[in-house]
Symmetry: C2
Subunit: 294 residues, 2 copies
C-alpha cells in the first residue's frame, strides 16, 4: 500500500508517501503561501504518485466535526487567505481516495501512539512548542475532538517570580503560548532561543511554564505518556528542568512510579523525532484506508 | 433487570437498586466509617436484594487499571483504614455478579452522559466542588483512566488579586481545591459557605477560581459539556459568575457558539441533580452486565 501524508504547518508544508508500518519512503517540503498556490503544489506532488489514501494533519483551528457543513475547513486563522478555506474538500475534488483529517498536533500524538514514544499505550498528550504552542490528545485509544479540539497552548499559568515579560499572545497576553512559545523567548531576551546558551536563565523560566502546563495536563487527563516536541524542545537541557518542575508542582500527590521515579521515561521527546507530524498524517491515511475497506 | 449501585463517598455511602433506564427504585445512605463496618452494611443491604450486577463509584484515589494486582483497591487516602483496602475484591467475595468499578466522579460524568445533562453527547467533564474538588472525564464515548485517573482538583490557578487566603490543600496549599473547595471557603471567611449570602464577595472569588479551571479544561480537552456539581454548587448564583469568568479567560479564542453565545447550556448543573453519582454507579452496573453477556 502507498499512503500519502501531509503535515500542513503554518510555516511549511511537508508531503510524503509511506506505508502501513509507519515508514516514510519519500518526502518534500515547501513554504506555506496562499491556499491556492500551496494546494496546487500539494496536488502536483500527489499526482502520479498513486496514493491509496491520504492523511492530513493540519494547522488550525480546523473543523473536525464530521456532522458540520464546514468539516474539513480551516476556521479562524489570521493567516491570509486560509480562514474558511476548504482544505479537505479541495483535496477530495482532486483525488478520489479515502482521506484522514485532523489537527497537526492530534496527528503527531497519534503517530507517536502508533509508532513512537507512546507505542502500545492507550493515551498520550503531545505538546508542540514552536512558533505557537499546540496540544494533541489521544485518550482511551482515540484521538480527542469534542466541542472543537484541544488548544492547550492557551491555558493560563502562574507567572515566574523573576519574569516581568508581559506576554505576547494576541488573545490572552500572558497565557502559556504568550509566555513560552519561541516568539515569547525571543521577545523576552532580545535573542532567538536557538542562540541562547544551554545554561542561560531563560531555560529555567521556560521549564517553569511548561512544567505547570504538563502538571495540569497530568491532573486533568492522566495520560500514559507526555511528549514534548517542536523547535524550542530542541533545547534538550529543558527536559530535566521540566521533570523537576512537574514533580515540584504535583508534590507527591499522584502516586505513580511513572511520576515519582521514572519521569525521564514519562515526559519525553517524540520517539519519531521531527517526523512525528508526518508519520501522524500517515497514520491518519492508514486509518482512512482501513475504514473504507470496512 | 435489577442493578445495584454504590456511591461510595468519603463522608457517606449511598446504596441503591435501579434499572437500565437509569431509574433508582430504592436507596439508603449511611456515614462512611472504617471499611469493615461500612462494607458490612453495604453487603447487608444487597443481601436478599437479588442484584444482577453492581456498579461502584468510589472516592479515591483508587486503582482502575485492570492489569494491576491492586485493581479495585483504594490507594493512598488519608481516611483511616481505607488506604490499600480491597473494596472491589471484598464485594466480589460476597456476591457472584458482574461488577462495574470507577471513581465517584467518573461515575457521575458517566451517569450524566447516559441520562443527564450530557445525554447523547460523546464527551463531558464533571467537576464536583464539595469537601474536595474532583473531576470525572468522559471523552469520545469512554470514561478516561490513563496512568491513574483524573484529579483535576489539584491544578494550580492564578490567585485572585483581592484574595490573601493561603490555601488549605495539604499537598499544594493554594491549588484549586486548596482555594475553592468548601473548607477553603469556610476558612477564608470564617463561616460555612452555606451561610454566606448570595451577594457576598466570596462568590466572585469562588467563580474566579472555578472559571480558570473550567477554561483550562475546555482548552485542553474540549468537552461537549461541562457539569458542575457538589455541595458548593448549590449556590446557584455561581453559574452566571462562572460563565462570565470562562468567557473572560478564553477571550474569544475558542470560536464556538456553545461558548460565545450559549454558555448557559454549556456549563451546567447536573441534569440528574444530587443523583448523578448514584445513577453513574448504576450505569457502571448496567455496563458490567452487558459486558458479561458479551
Ligand atoms: N534549537 C532551538 N532552540 C530554541 N528555540 C528554537 C530552536 N529551533 C527553533 N526554535 C524556535 O521555535 C520556533 C519554531 O518552531 P518549529 O516547531 O520549528 O516550527 P513551527 O512551530 O513554526 O511549526 C521559533 O520561534 C524558533 O525560534
Ligand atoms: N448550600 C451550600 N452552599 C455552599 N457550600 C455548601 C453548601 N452545601 C454544602 N456546602 C459545602 O460543600 C461541602 C460538602 O460537599 P458535598 O458535595 O455535599 O459532600 P462531599 O464533598 O463530602 O461528598 C462542605 O464543605 C460544605 O460546607
Ligand atoms: Zn493565548
Ligand atoms: Zn492540591
Amino acid at each position: 500500500m502507498r499512503i500519502g501524508a501531509i503535515e500542513a504547518g503554518g510555516t511549511k508544508f511537508i508531503c510524503g508517501i509511506g506505508n502501513e508500518e509507519g515508514e516514510i519512503q519519500e518526502r518534500v517540503s515547501f513554504p506555506t503561501e496562499h491556499p491556492e498556490q500551496t494546494l496546487s503544489q500539494v496536488i502536483l506532488y500527489f499526482r502520479g504518485r498513486q496514493a491509496d489514501a491520504i492523511g492530513i494533519g493540519s494547522f488550525g483551528p480546523i473543523d473536525v466535526d464530521v456532522s458540520s457543513p464546514r468539516y474539513g475547513c480551516i476556521t479562524t486563522t489570521p493567516k491570509p487567505g486560509w480562514a474558511g478555506f476548504d482544505f479537505l474538500g479541495t483535496m477530495k475534488r482532486a483525488f478520489d481516495v479515502p482521506f484522514g483529517w485532523d489537527t497537526d498536533v492530534n496527528a503527531a500524538a497519534y503517530g507517536e501512539a502508533m509508532w513512537g514514544a507512546a507505542k502500545n499505550l492507550q493515551s498520550c498528550v503531545y505538546f508542540t512548542i514552536g512558533t505557537g504552542i499546540g496540544t494533541g490528545v489521544y485518550v482511551e485509544g482515540k484521538r480527542v475532538h469534542g466541542l472543537v479540539h484541544s488548544e492547550g497552548g492557551h491555558i493560563l499559568t502562574r507567572r515566574h517570580p523573576e519574569d516581568d515579560f508581559q506576554g505576547c499572545c494576541i488573545y490572552h497576553g500572558d497565557c502559556l503560548e504568550g509566555m513560552a512559545a519561541g516568539p515569547a523567548i525571543e521577545q523576552r531576551w532580545g535573542t532567538k532561543g536557538s542562540e541562547l546558551p544551554a545554561d542561560h536563565p531563560a531555560w529555567a523560566i521556560e521549564a517553569f511554564y511548561i512544567g505547570q502546563a504538563v502538571a495540569s495536563t497530568i491532573l486533568l487527563m492522566s495520560p500514559e505518556k507526555v511528549i514534548l516536541g517542536g523547535g524550542v524542545m530542541h533545547q534538550e537541557q529543558l527536559f530535566p528542568l521540566i521533570h523537576r518542575e512537574v514533580q515540584r508542582n504535583l508534590n507527591g500527590y499522584v502516586q505513580h512510579e511513572a511520576i515519582l521515579s521514572e519521569i525521564e521515561q514519562y515526559i519525553v521527546a517524540p520517539g519519531l523525532g521531527d517526523n512525528a507530524g508526518l508519520c501522524g498524517a500517515l497514520a491518519l491515511g492508514v486509518d482512512a484506508l482501513k475504514q473504507r475497506k470496512g
